[in-house]
Amino acid sequence: MKYLKEYRDPVLARKILDEIRRTVTRPWSIMEVCGGQTHSLVKNGIIDVLPSEITMIHGPGCPVCVTPIHLIDAAIDLAMRPNIILCSFGDMLRVPGSNQNLLEAKAQGADVRILYSPLEAVAIAKDNPTKEVVFFAVGFETTAPANALSLVHAKREGIANYSILASHVLVPPAIKAVINDPLSKIDGFLAAGHVCTIMGNGQYYPLASEYKVPIVVTGFEPIDVIQGILMVVKQLELGTYEVENQYSRIVREEGNKEAKAIIEQVFEVSDQVWRGIGEIPASGYKIQDNFEAFDAVKKFGISVDAPEEKTECISGEIMKGLKKPSQCPHFGKKCTPENPLGAPMVSSEGACAAYYHFSGTSISN
């Protein structure tokens, strides 16, 4: 299978789009939860070619965007200490903290390193025994297994100078928070394919039946997203509210057992602050006590108080789908990727970044 070509086949895309057009009879609002899906919709111009009855609402699935500002400030503070090497995914570097971002801290001499995997950070810790190495572990459930594995590995190898500054968020509570917002009106959901690769589909059945919304798990290629939209539309027209798996080539119903086991070894569910949204109960992971030596919050005495952020960024409304990026008065003017007011403009999964980089005037409304 030529993966890249078959899931981007324009002929197949047109067929599915035609079927959506034939099936839809009235307006529907569908939320794609994951920022990766948002980017696929915008970058591939899918939003331009969907029938006008369908409104795509962009969801909160951007872990970089929802990382609480006090953790960004903590990461910068740690990075500025001379004996600490702060490791992070590239995305986090330009997210604004209260005073500056990690990239600016790096320019001032902080040892900040961009990595693709937390296991690289463990290796750096091993190679630099006189320094402390902190990995800024941000993500949804998708990145939790690798982050957990890095702690298991560090504990086993006795690498005491490694720790993670964790900011993990969970999708199902976020969907619940969005549905419960009195201003939001969402008829169906595209659930995040890579989150479900880890966790499976089980948590979505209670959501679908309680709130009577169809939920389709999709991948990220254009055909995946368009096919997922067709599956949701078909259910909406029939009045059903089931959980379906469009991404069956990757997602198993039970998820990945080994990945889930390692998450359970290291993390436990806790309340979590979502930047721009506020605290959502039982919506994040914290490190269990038996791994507390590797928890940067405890190791370095980081305050967990999350003061309210004074900002002109309307990320909360963007991520709950109440406003589109182009409806923000600062979009493209005061707020650009070079000078962002908030995280959604700099993250590779941020809705504002997607619109800024990929959208022409045709979808600015």
């Binding site: 789009l17 591939n44 331009d48 070619v49 368009i226 022409g360």
Partner: protein
Amino acid sequence: MTHRLLNQGVFEILGDVLVNSEHDGACIVTDEKMAMSTDSFIVSPIFFPGGSIGDLAVNGTVNDVAMCGAKPLYLTLSLIIEEGLAVSELWKIVDDIAIACRKAGVKIVTGDTKVVDRGSGDKIFINTTGVGSYLPKAAISPSRVSKGDAIILTDSIANHGMAIMSKREGLAFESEIKSDSRALNHSVESLINAFADQIHLVTDPTRGGVATVLNEIASKTNLGVELTHEKVPVEDQVAGACELLGLDPLYVANEGVYLIFCPDQLAEDVQENLKALGHRPAMIGKMVEEHPKQVIMDTPMGGKRVISMLPGSQLPRIC
């Protein structure tokens, strides 16, 4: 020690490409209009599939001079070597420089060598400055790019950047991705001799890739760029590597391809000419009046997307 390094090593390896005046500088006599360009090379790793910092340092500057519409003639060569660099690696780099100079048909007329303490550099940095004489028929300038001009790419993109990234990330593919580093001056000269001032602009998309160069031209000319997605040539393997690392080939560095802007009616003849020179050209788009300063590409799904200027740094230490 530096004296020995130069005389017994560098000069000997450079051989016939070196014009050694044995004085502080070179003397060039000319009454022609000259083009000049300089570039510094800090690529890491210094050896990569398809090349090294050595040939990059020659080809990069040779190409910059050629893109002015000039025939590159002479280079300066400045080496900043970190203490501890293996001598065998230095000789290999100098040898690569000599081979690249011979292929490009340029001479090195002056240079400098410095050695810095361990930790004050990173193996080796190289600066080259190139001088060339304008081709009589050339009339190259961004200001000549006009509404309706065809945009032609000479070969597939993203090979250099992905060769570097693959080496850095330790990725292995079924067949190695090789840098496309090569001198383009002979090709440019041939094109200008054939089509003269009908070639409005030639430019090579190095750091920042095709997307960055097209945005710069759209901005300078106040015209729009319309790209056709399926016409942009990317080798399957390179496309796969880009996907793996989350990179868009349009933003990845190239060291052996260039873009040509010419009247639309000439596009087929230009492409035939390029094929005869050994290229595999494609017309990837055109300059338009609509959406000035913006680069817009159609998507396979039937929509459109903006190819914007990427903020912040590109892949670091790529050239």
